[in-house]
């Protein structure tokens, strides 16, 4: 039971820490000063949530939150690959932010009923804060989707990249059976994935964005190819897509994008492991 809790909460914490780190990279660089503030603040929320999750692990195992966050090897992290992808352009960051926070809302809603009282209370608390992330993401996607064609096209391209990787947020967790049997997560990851897919596609439809072409993982390559409009480029992109399928994060199998992030994020801690923050 304790191992199951640690497995579940580590995945949640690592997602929040790593996407928070990526969001924080917009600080000083966002295309608009208000968005600079927004992404910095969202990053602070996500990293704060990670800290709260790590504290929950600390209560169960005694492992220090700082050491959990910064003192592990890259393949010890259990975040989904989506979270570690570089920010890319603004449309990619927005679409990832929207997909991630929609997915997070789906799982927080379920976690409110967790058999672990500490985790359930945290989920209730965080969901009240995450609501602002959803407000922000929805407002932007709606605005860009209703705007000129270039913005729409970029959103659609970014969806093609992000959506399959967002589904991988709900890949089975280590000790999934024990996590679900003990009601730590009151339903399976695949059930959550179905809820997320249904909600995301219905909202995309409301935004007037194509929703039906993203439905399953196997079609992502095909979609990317069709959006490029160039047959040779399509094949190349399809190849890249299969190698960047975005699966495996929950088992510690990360993409090449994670190592540089990890190097930077943990550099101070590795130099001074006993420093107080």
């Amino acid at each position: 039971m304790r191992e199951a809790l640690v497995s579940l909460v580590t995945a949640l914490a690592d997602d929040e820490l790593i996407i928070g780190h990526r969001h924080s990279e917009w600080t000083g660089f966002a295309p608009h000063i208000e968005e600079d503030v927004a992404f910095s603040s969202i990053a602070q929320d996500e990293i704060g949530h990670a800290a709260a999750y790590y504290s929950l692990i600390a209560e169960a195992t005694g492992a220090s939150p700082d050491r959990m966050a910064l003192g592990r090897q890259p393949d010890d992290y259990r975040h989904a690959v989506l979270c570690e992808r570089p920010n890319g352009d603004w449309s990619y960051s927005l679409v990832r932010h929207w997909l991630y926070d929609t997915a997070d809302d789906v799982r927080l809603e379920a976690l409110q009923e967790s058999a672990d009282a500490g985790l359930a209370a945290l989920a209730v608390k965080m969901r009240r804060e995450e609501r602002y992330h959803l407000l922000h993401a929805n407002a932007w996607i709606k605005r860009v989707a209703e705007g000129p064609i270039e913005g729409r096209t970029r959103l659609i391209d970014a969806l093609g990249k992000c959506y399959p990787e967002a589904l991988a947020l709900f890949d089975s967790l280590e000790l999934e059976d024990s996590i679900v049997d003990n009601d730590l997560l009151p339903c399976s990851s695949s059930e959550l994935r179905a809820r997320f897919a249904q909600r995301a596609t219905s909202e995309l439809d409301d935004f007037g964005l194509p929703a039906d072409i993203h439905r399953d993982l196997d079609n992502s390559a095909e979609f990317l190819a069709s959006s490029s409009g160039d047959l040779i480029a399509s094949e190349q992109e399809a190849l890249t897509t299969s190698s960047r399928s975005g699966i495996g994060g929950r088992a510690g199998k990360h993409s090449d994008d994670f190592k540089p992030l990890w190097d930077e994020m943990t550099s101070t801690h590795r130099l001074h492991p006993d420093a107080h923050w």
Binding site: E34, A38, S41, I42, D45, G48, K125, Y132, L135
Partner: protein
């Protein structure tokens, strides 16, 4: 259970200010869930406002200092809990007035409907009382603040976000 000691601790906590909003105490913010006292031992239970609030360590430290200074207290234990979740409904009416006086618009009153993802209700300008205001940013300089603009007095201002 020593009621008088607990009362003295509550009074002391009334002097612990939120470091990010120095005009308002943590009791006015509704952050103190419980004070228990037995002989010379005191337990204080704190509700953090926002989970990611960086001020929380400072607040815990200030609480410890303040309670340790109360006559008759020997040990202090400060605990952080998330249940019940802190909500802006916990801010007292004095707290709301002080927020406004310090230039921070108080949060919209009442409970938050968690599934409501429309833009927040209009905030009242803390400087001129104007209601013709526009949300410029759902986020601000701290996790708990949003940025507005007042079209009446043409000042930007911040609002404590409703949670």
């Amino acid at each position: 259970m020593s009621a008088t000691l607990a009362d003295a601790v509550w009074t002391a906590l009334g002097d612990v200010m939120d470091p990010e909003i120095p005009a308002v105490s943590i009791t006015e913010m509704g952050m103190v869930l419980d004070v228990a006292a037995e002989d010379k031992d005191v337990w204080v239970t704190i509700l953090p406002t926002f989970t990611g609030c960086p001020a929380i360590d400072v607040i815990m430290h200030d609480v410890e200092q303040a309670v340790a200074g109360v006559e008759g207290v020997e040990t202090v234990r400060v605990k952080l809990v998330y249940d019940p979740p802190w909500s802006t409904e916990r801010i007292s009416s004095e707290g709301r007035t002080k927020l406004q006086q310090s230039g921070l618009a108080p949060p919209a009153a009442g409970p938050v409907l968690i599934t409501d993802i429309r833009l927040p209700a209009v905030a009242v300008c803390p400087f001129c009382g104007g209601r013709d205001t526009a949300n410029e940013n759902l986020f601000g300089p701290t996790p708990c603040r949003a940025i507005y603009y007042c079209r009446s007095c043409r000042n930007p201002f911040e609002q404590f976000k409703q949670v």
